[in-house]
Amino acid sequence: MDVQVGTELPARVVQQVDIGEMKTMAALLRDPNPIHWDPESTRALGMGDRTVNQGPINMAYVMNMLLAWVGNEPTRLRAITLRFMANVFDGDRVLAGGRVTAVREVNGERLADCEVWLDVTGGMRALAGSATVALP
């Protein structure tokens, strides 16, 4: 795998974030915050009438992008740090992307450090951060 500083990771797009997935994740996380599953709640808070995607789902989109790049082996994701910068709403299109910032060898294993992000199409950057993956 030819990887060097500046290598762009293949972007991963979610064409339409969906409230159904938010409801599943709310149950899995036992998250009582209704902004993730009840549009009345977001309306009452002045956030519009679309539900808010959970931060962990947004994080997973970035994780999935990284793992797809390294052969869909979850063990290859060694570190990730993400800052939450903007909400993602039901119906949004989002793109997870990344760029290699360093390639290094540790204990005989090649690691790639990457800048990563999740952008809302036509909107803001929702997540920004860094990650380290072990290269195949």
Binding site: L28, N64, A68
Partner: protein, 148 residues
């Protein structure tokens, strides 16, 4: 509103902790609802399960965690930052032990947002059968708006 002194006194508070076993159906539903069906049969848990394991195993529900900081889900607390370092694979069906503590607090005032608190904490994940070896460490911060 919780005072800054009360907030600072929380630093070092240990969470009750607990155990968590990533169950096959939870890993399936997680991989499915984050749109990664290709990872359902990857042989190990989706990396997001580390977030789920540490949250579920810290020994407090989300509302109880918010209450620790004199807040509730009605205040609209949000994740500010989340990160992890992974040292070994998280296996579906294996029991993990979670421990951790509040590591930092900060009160800030924004022109548009008003007063808000940033609460930082760290959680460690170990296989219940192998307490000497760290599987993962997570570091999180929650933002608590303080309205009024």
């Amino acid at each position: 509103m919780i005072t800054e002194e009360e907030l600072e006194s929380l630093v070092g508070t240990l969470f009750p902790g607990g155990t968590y076993t990533p169950e096959p159906y939870v890993n399936w539903l997680t991989s499915d609802c984050v749109l990664a069906p290709e990872l359902i049969n990857a042989g190990v848990a989706h990396p997001l399960m580390i977030y789920m394991a540490t949250q579920a195993g810290l020994g407090l529900s989300l509302e109880e965690l918010f209450a620790l900081f004199k807040g509730s889900s009605e205040d609209g607390p949000m994740l500010g930052e989340w990160g992890m370092e992974v040292y070994s694979a998280v296996q579906v069906g294996t029991s993990y032990t979670v421990s951790g503590a509040i590591t930092g607090v900060l009160r800030k005032t924004g022109k548009k947002t008003g007063v808000f608190d940033i609460i930082q904490f760290e959680l460690q994940l170990r296989a219940t059968s192998d307490a000497d070896n760290l599987v993962a460490v997570t570091r999180s911060s929650f933002i608590f708006p303080r309205r009024g």
